[in-house]
Amino acid sequence: MTAFVTLAGVYNTPVFGAERSQDQEWMSSRALEQFLASVEKRAFKIAQLSLRNDDDALDAVQDAMMKLARSYASRDSAEWRPLFYRILANGIRDMQRRRTVRGRIMAWLPARDAEDDEDFDPIAQAPSHEPNPARRLELDQAIGALETAVAELPARQKQAFLLRNFEGLDTSETANAMGCSEGSVKTHYFRALETLRARLGEVI
């Protein structure tokens, strides 16, 4: 019996270990999926307000998701959020730089017909749900005014405001995501709030 127990122990341990490893992998993948699902909408809004273009914003979010899943999935899940937003912030900055360069080049080329750039699909752009009309109108105005004001903030103020206020990162996480000091985050955030309050005090 002792021999059986010993042999069973020897032969069962690796199998149990393999199963546990597979389980852990599955749980980790599941946790990563839940994390990405929990941040994707806000991440898109942050990218959209920074880039002012839906397709570019979607590309930036997808790129950040791909990089996080490829290179940092094995990290502690508590690190995912600041890492994800750091990757996203870098992606947004790279896109803005490319756009600046492209703008300089395009300035030398003949202007295209504005209709060529229109890709508006009223059905696809339709909102996904409908609150009551009065509330909806009020919210529409607030959203429009806030998004316009946020989009016009200087880049670093915008980033600090969106990560701190909208995404809810603390000062340390925001500094990590922005690649700057906590003092800089506080300054950028304070200035962003002051600008927004001055512009939106009556609307919001």
Partner: protein, 117 residues
Amino acid sequence: MSQESQQDEFEKRTREVLEESATRLDGRTLSRLTQARHAALDQPQRPARGRWWVFVPAGAAAAVAVLAVSSWMGRSPVESTSPMEDLEFLTDAEASEFVTDGEELEFYEWAAGEMES
């Protein structure tokens, strides 16, 4: 109402408005975000950086092999000349012309003397 509580209220309100805007994303955007998430999860993961040392023995062996081959290939022409190569040179038609051509030979002797002086 104090300045601080006003700020808190304003921050809270702006957050609510932004949250509301995020819930209004259209179907196309939501679909593309879901596709992006699935694509990210389906790709193979890069191995952890901490395992670089696993490749050290293979890298060292490859470096030794490269050094051995390059040192063998990189020997000077004088050292690599074998008796067979000398024989080939002497029996080569163009080489014999070079040796028998008096003017060219004189030129190369002069050039060699200039280099030595």
